[in-house]
Symmetry: C2
Amino acid sequence: MAQKHPPVTLKQVAETAQVSRAAASFALSGKPGVSEATRQRVLQIASELGYSPNQTAQNLRSSRTGIIAVYLPENVSTLSYYMEATFGIVDEAELSNLTVTLVPHTSTNAPIARLNADGLLILDPAREDAIVDRLLALGLPVVTGEALPDPNQSAAGQVISDHRRTTCEILDHFHSAGAHFPAIITPVERMAWSMSIEDSYIDWCQRHNVTPRIEHTSMDELTETTKFSTRKLLEDGSTDAILALTDGSALAVAAQASEHGRHIGKDLLIAAAVDSPALSYVDPGVTAVDLNPRDFGRRCMNLLVRILDSKRAPTDEPLTEYAPTAVIYRASTGAGNS
Amino acid sequence: MAQKHPPVTLKQVAETAQVSRAAASFALSGKPGVSEATRQRVLQIASELGYSPNQTAQNLRSSRTGIIAVYLPENVSTLSYYMEATFGIVDEAELSNLTVTLVPHTSTNAPIARLNADGLLILDPAREDAIVDRLLALGLPVVTGEALPDPNQSAAGQVISDHRRTTCEILDHFHSAGAHFPAIITPVERMAWSMSIEDSYIDWCQRHNVTPRIEHTSMDELTETTKFSTRKLLEDGSTDAILALTDGSALAVAAQASEHGRHIGKDLLIAAAVDSPALSYVDPGVTAVDLNPRDFGRRCMNLLVRILDSKRAPTDEPLTEYAPTAVIYRASTGAGNS
């Protein structure tokens, strides 16, 4: 099992095929100058030996690096979402023979200038994130997962989940289950997806003549800030449903509500705007929006590949694609079981 | 914000500095042949313009790609662990100016032969994983996160957590809290870390004259298989503590135990061998082993860099480093609070 052998070289292919290195190279690259019989023999031998041409050299020649850089936010409370989305990105990249590299968080200075990539994917850009500004300034083709939150920024493309629709669906579900005073707990960090959920929550409240109750949480100290916000909502007394924007926050709401003697799924309904495996494992399971992160990641990479291939001129209007989402109902909102 | 400009070229640096391209190149690479005054002027201008030499070309010259490939297992029930470990790998890679790429899962055939990297990190290799075999056969320097489970396989280095120590610590803690018949729920997938936990569990049982109770779960269908195993353990009647090997599995144990009318932290103690944010958010919080995944990832990358720099000959004995771990006590094992 532990056989270690260096990569096969062009020289080995040439020697085995008993042709010159130049002839082997011509045969492999499909250039004229060798007979068809030689070409077939060289291809056959290269395949048998497992020869792969030096990718770095090939990429340099085609003036493409073959690399897509991916930037994930640093303080992520929905780690499983990003892991799944990253797997989706890598799966889709492979179809185009692209390699995915991850942009590091640590340095806020020089190294970004060296980013050696054909294009860039930024997942969930946050408004306060200086690295996002600096990445955009590199001039590479960029696709964002969810929109850029700053109207002065622009990307070549964006993949967006319809958070407005799922937010209304959850609030309507609360309502029809008898919970008429829903509150939301949203990150202080400003991202397009959380801002659109807040907006649709406020719209919904206006339509239903309910005063909006918005409390905050911070990605840095998710448990403590969520528990504090939950206490504030529950001490008020009227709150009968809480939509927590992240999966981790929803779990912290549930823990705090139990300490307050509230019964989740009965006298307090809870939902999360992002699903994660944990929300189905806990008891009661927590209703949440399945954002299909693996599929979402694939769509991001696919859109970037299309943009790279199209060589379209940068315009102010990004190409926009919508990703499918679905509310998964569980016992935390009164569903039977699961 | 949305300024897009192409990267600065050597030509632009040379023109701005009013020297030939060759002179600019010599100055930037520190070669003799230009005056110190010219060299200083060129460096100054290159810095002002934000010039970065073409990394692909430079790497090719130094016969290094500057790329480290990372392989993560496909069916991961502990997604936040791998996400954190990956962030740690990327952070540490940056210190050595290395780029991290992720090996895709989808294709089980040709593309691995093309892997263009100086070295390879494999996290939690599983015994049945054909991709691991094929990656090892590439002949690249490899560091594994946790050991290779197959004694016929070998890597240049490995970073290992002391699962034996933490397993004994948890079982002793169960015991001193009055739970004398602990069971474990372990993945059917064979990995070195889970195998070492099973071994130390069996050792502990022998020392305490207890019959081992080992049930299984599958990463593919974690919730259902864990719930099934939990039911089997609870119907038996004597089981008073369960160590679940993954964080997701521990949550599923807790949900199933509640349905069975057991009170977690009181008449049933629960712990997980891998911590995750969710385990601290739920009520009661679940005791778990903090494997310090971000630090673990950094250690993996650091060890690989040392191996690459040392140019040591491949030997059968991998360089081994131990990563620090700690049991985090929460209410699921009777701890006061949190």
